[in-house]
Amino acid sequence: MDFFSIGLVLACASAGLGALWRMRGWFRRGAAMGRPEQGRPRPGILGFLGMLGGGLADLVLLRRTLRSPLRWTGHTLLILGFVPLIVLHAMDGVVTRPLFAGYEPTLDPWQFLRNLFGLFSVLGLPLLFLNRYMALKKFSRLQDWTLLAVVFGVLVSGFFLESFKIMSAGDFKRMTDDYFVDAEPEELISLKAYWARENGVRFREFLPTAPEMLELGAELHEDRCAGCHSPTSSAFVSRSMTALVPASLHIADQGRDLFWHVHVGLAFLGLALLPWGKFFHPVATGINLLSRGGSRATDTPKHTLARGLALDACTRCGQCSLHCSVAQAHRVLGNPDILPMDKLADLRRHLDDRLPPDRSAALVEGSHICTECLRCTQVCSAGIDLQDLWMASKKALTEAGRAGVDGEIRKRTAGEWARELASRDLGRVGGTGAGLADRAESFWGCVQCTTCTGVCPVVAVSEDPSRDLDLAPQQIMNLLRMGLKAQTLGARMVWSCTTCYKCQEHCPQGVPVADILYELRQLGAEILRKKEGRS
């Protein structure tokens, strides 16, 4: 077994097994998200064709990346070049040769196209790099850069490989040994002279430049070589690159071997890494875009597999996080799971039971701060129905007893919270110093007239306020006046206040009752964040 065979077998094994593992994840995670509510009914034939058209337009034209022209141009160039290179060049033995009679990799248009496609791709990459650096740097991880680097390495080593092959006297000898066995010495010299001059091969020996020798070489070339070999100048990039190597350096054969190993090795590395991490996005995102059929809403028919696939299709482009309508909450609270991109990654780990407990609290908080504004779904360039994922995951988390701050508070009684919190210094609210609940001025007007309680709609609908609410608003004000803040924080009234401000509006003494209830809630949320080690 040689380098190529071993590499190919290992890379294919990694790619195949990994892809199966990824697809298993689509089913498992999809099922773990819970049963989808039925969306729009399944489309008819025309609807299906429309969806297919929308999906193809997203996939082929990369419509959804148009928001950033730099990214669209870079991606389009890369795909325009890279896909034909994989199909026609890397898989020429199974695709190009059977399809095109008389195919030889050294013949045009293939030799020319290889350079052209390579040039497209290699021009696209710096744009993608620039886009990532300028717009998405803070969202980027090692694997985002690695993917760019591996593709760049494959392309550049390919150009060098071809360049050194053009210059290689060893390759010339191999070809003439194989296909010109009956060559006379003079014929070989004139052919060499012709190839050195016309095709850029570098020979160590001195070669004649007389016109008649070159003419003989040209005749022999037409006769014996041209049928399988186009002029190397049609490989316009690689041929130009030969100028980079000084004529005095005879390293063509070594360079050819080196870059062959680098090129093939990196290509195998890319293939082996394909199912792992970001490298899989060309597959998962492509299928997801097709399955979404151009829709930017949350109205397509859903099933568990579609959700599993959607969870896998993120390219970490960061558009969702850049446009997230609660990004300001992220800036203040610092929890990355408020932003869609990181939340998606943690949701995936949560569904795989791999999310550490501290991250789990962050995921719950992020899920509950999301306002379901649909914007991430509308801007997602991978066509992921993020809105559906958030609504489903929030529901699943709530059903699993993770209903955010409110849910955590309600797990214990007001008395239990009071005992736990009484030991803490609760005098300070946030970083701002004394809050409303700490200041005597807030309460000294309170005469316990119970107007606040009397007008409270929550108190009014409760059949048993002491059971449903623990404390009435005026009782909370009274406890605070006595400095018993810890006694109030776990009270249901604080957490079931609708913030309608009736109490405050009606208070004859100007006590800011609703503002104080808000403040107690915010303090409770902050204490829970600290308790979970997240602030």
Partner: protein, 276 residues
Amino acid sequence: MKYAYFPGCKIAHHLPIHGRSVEAVCTRLGVELLRPEFNCCGYPVRHESRDASVYSALRNLALAENIGLDLMTPCKCCFGNLQQARHQAGQDEKLKQRMKDLLHEEGLEFPEKARVRHFLQILDDLPGGVVSAVSRPLKGLKIACHYGCHALRPENITHFDDPLAPTIFERLVAATGAAPLPWELRLECCGYPLRGRDENIADLLVAKKMAGASSSGADLLATACTYCQLQFGSENQKRPQTIPAVLFSTILGLALGLSPDEVGIKPGDVLTRFVV
């Protein structure tokens, strides 16, 4: 007239007809709406963090101020929180400085001028009034107006209308040719803020309100807030309907002669029988 349009988060997915009817009505009345990419008003996150809430709100005001426009929202909770944020930053120097710093990091200035207007206020301010534009008066339609808390209270911050005896909504309903009916619970909370927090009380509140509106003798309940409509409309579909809840933008749109489709009414909707 030109405003920076602030739809709020819930319209895009949860209540698209609200956005559609508001925009259609504004177009018909010559109110031009610009659409900067606003973020959340900060109302939902106010339960978790004051700073996050105030900063979210102020950033929107800063964006509106950037294009030299006042901001218009059809949501009373958004309206209330945007007003609250400005008030809170005005009360607390340290908070204001933190907000300034956060805004500066994004290249924005602390908003001093941009006003917050609710959709109803815009209509009420129209020169000539809404009534001159009504081409299909909704004669015979009796409406119970629902005010929505966060615009109304606390009045010293929201400056919407008299918190104990507001009239703006009834005035506008009367302008459509319909008859606004007095209704005892019109100033009470719809209960939506407790959705996902205390479902039991949220359900009790909506049931009480629907029964109250129904006993007022009205044909329907009019809302002018995304959250109220979600509570009385979508969330309320689970239980037997006592009285239908309809967005005022939809009602007004019909009175202005817009087609049911333009204001998001489906065939067979309760409103269609008043506009034949």
